[in-house]
Symmetry: C3
Subunit: 349 residues, 3 copies
């Protein structure tokens, strides 16, 4: 994470921030607040880490507008105030990103079908497999073990990390990042009939992943039975997420780790679904909704809703008592209703 | 998904349905109801999509017996009535499946041990690894990145999608489909002793996957400590499911995505376990039981039981109140009991 | 699982147990209690399997101290009593482990960068990729499809099962086992800004996996944003677990399948987290805490706490009633409080 050094003033100009202190100090690296030393810039990510400011040995600290006020003249480091300090932090990290060595050519140890189209600047590592009539756009990177099926299309400037699978006919947009082991285009889970007579419903649709999507490690996105499973532009999908056949994830939505979304459900735009939540099939989550961790969503959710369903764990012996009573809630209600009637009758007397 | 066209009457004969309307119309493709056009057959999958019948431009629609009655003479398309329209739909999809080009030979870029037995008609893609004394039966397909360990056996007509791992000694039956990234035969999670002195219990058993099983993408099936982890014939396992050591999954059971089944538990035949449910170790789920999504199953379940344990999410601010009160259920019960005693005493007076 | 036979007395000496019965009997294999025959030793793993002792045809059975007393003179097999019979069982399994044939050399079908350092005795299978400046320590095994990124370090005596990914710069200690398909060092899930303007926060930290850790199949461990995600020595992580960026897992902790631990949370030493539990971000789980299955942990947990949050599933039609009432708990409380006031006022009269 080291690159050419820049002055704090140069950095501030690049990310749209304001220097409080010495803008001439040279910065060459970003580091965590507890570890940062001379020549490094750090970030006060969370109010609970403010205690670290006291002993901070960084040359500069990124903070929100006005947050430096209390420290002026008292700190040995400079501040970079930014309207959104988190965005400034991200941009500064990007400034100091080490350049990755990429061959921008095809490894002779990759298996690429003669009918596949690999555009200029693409890096194909060893052990990659690109099938017939597949296309990979300019400057994309296929790490070792990547599989691109028949006629699949990968856009430009994509990164497919090791062992990513994109099965036949699926379409991936531009600037898409797919993390290691993720599977795009596995068969949807569909059967007809029962028991011995159950038969597989062929899954002949595809997956469409639009531009600027990121998909986490070992996540799975099933192809549609017919038609398309769609992940709209800018959506971010975390590790080990399951997206079933014919689901649509709206633009810029955020799906945290281990969430499961069952078949044909539609998630709106700018939705946030937190870890381990589950969405049943054939429902709709409205735009901008926020779903808490571990929540079960059994029916459609209106736009903008803020839902929770997770249970906070409790001390085990207390929880055993709660669990014994929970199934008896209906009986408890009946008791209370009966008491209310008795009191009403007592009061009448 | 296009193949040779057939008349609707021919299709009806093949799937055992009845034509209402013009049996001579040529069909060459299956399409979703909202998209289907001339020459295509579609399927009314769900009553909620009946609205699409009005503007439907398909040449034919698959429906249940009697469902066409209301439309006769009014529709510009024909109907194919079937006893189980979903089964008819699946069979028609199979009719129109595009043929997949398979080499039915071993890629020179695969690594196959000299002692491995690869039967006739097997397709071995590049980057496949088949270890010593492994066997692969007739017409099976090993996609790129597949690993078959020492002495493992894969039956005939199997499909192992890219990057599937079948570790040493495991046995996979015939017509088994394993989706990309799934792992069969990883070590069970077993240790003896505590802390610093904890030691690994070698996992020397195997996994047996019987005929006609399907296992989802990135699912994991651990080998037995001793003996066998067994997935009986016809069971269908969805993506990201965890099956621990020494588990047995009964014939024709359905395990939806992200379910976890802990060590040594036995799931009966024809069981359905819905998404994200969890089954503790050393219990039995009786034949035909149905377990709802996100349910926790802490003890054995009788045959035919229908269990639920998932919580429906609620508006966040209301849920906070519920969560504050839930741990106090025992106190609430005590209050109600105390009130009942007071009322009894009041009524005596 | 067969190796050279040993007498029961020899085995007892090796594992620190006591023979009750014929110490001269030859043992060549370990088998499950229901299957074991002559020449085999078995293990009474669980009191519920004691029924199998009656018809047991093994030559010896491992039990706890004193457990053989009731059977002396009545059984046709010998007993091996051990202070911790489970530990004895594990050690005996290790005694009889079949030796695995390993080349201890680099396959010519592996792609190893010229600048990578591969120490003596390392086995590199075909289709492995080892990137620039990576290091792999003595006697480690890289199975097919393993990826070791730029500058990553793998210690000695490690086993990386097929298709394991260790991305650039990550450090894995000695005697670490990583099961098939696990990903170490995928990007943390971090973004700044909102909607269209959301940008990726580069994840430039690493993952450090200390000695004697085991990581399950298809588990994912994200690299830190800055700094390190750390899995301390001896921790055991099961299949499909998600460990987010900047998490620390303490020494000798046990994390069961499908658990998710969100960003920057710290799990103490000797902690046990059972299946499908979820830990929110930025909290601490104290040393020795035990977290029940499916529990949601929304705030820090003190050392030694025993927490549960899982719900036991109930018959579906009863559960529907409970679910209808659960959101009305606040109203129920209000009713009870109102009743209490009315009774107090009645009692005053």
């Amino acid at each position: 994470m080291s690159a050419a050094a820049r002055t704090l003033a140069q950095i501030a100009a690049l990310v749209g921030g304001k220097v409080i202190g010495d803008g001439g100090v040279l910065i060459h690296r970003v580091a965590p607040i507890a570890d940062a030393v001379d020549g490094e810039i750090t970030f006060l990510a969370n109010a609970r880490y403010a205690k670290y400011l006291e002993g901070c040995r960084a040359s500069a600290v990124i903070v929100g507008v006005g947050a430096a006020a209390g420290y002026i003249g008292r700190s040995r480091f400079a501040f970079l105030e930014a309207a959104d300090p988190y965005v400034a932090f991200a941009k500064i990290l990007q400034l100091f990103l080490p350049s990755v060595r990429l061959a921008q050519s095809r490894s002779s140890q990759a298996a690429i079908d003669a009918s596949a189209v690999i555009e200029d600047g693409v890096t194909v590592f060893p052990n990659v497999f690109v099938s017939a009539e597949a296309r990979v756009g300019r400057n994309s990177v296929l790490y070792p073990g990547v599989y691109v099926g028949d006629g699949a299309e990968i856009g430009s400037d994509c990164v497919l990390h090791p062992n990513v699978v994109v099965r036949q006919g699926c379409r991936v947009g531009n600037r898409v990042i797919v993390h290691a082991g993720a599977v795009i285009g596995s068969d949807g889970f569909g059967y007809a009939g029962h028991g011995e007579d159950r038969i597989k419903i062929p899954q002949v649709g595809i997956v469409v992943v639009e531009d600027d999507v990121e998909i986490g490690a070992n996540a799975t996105v099933d192809r549609a039975t017919l038609g398309q499973t769609i992940i709209e532009r800018g959506a971010k999908i975390d590790n080990l997420v399951q997206i079933a056949h014919n689901v649509r994830i709206g633009a810029h939505s955020i799906i945290a780790a281990q969430v499961g979304i069952a078949g044909s459900s539609k998630v709106g735009k700018h939705v946030t679904i937190l870890g381990q939540a589950g969405i049943v099939n054939h429902i709709e989550i409205g735009d901008g909704a926020i779903i808490g961790p571990q929540s079960g969503i059994p029916k459609s959710v209106p736009a903008g809703a803020l839902l929770s369903g997770g249970i906070a764990a409790a001390p085990h012996h207390e929880w055993l008592k709660v669990m014994a009573l929970l199934p008896q809630l209906p009986k408890l209600w009946a008791s209370v209703r009966s008491i209310e009637r008795q009191i009403a009758s007592l009061l009448k007397k």
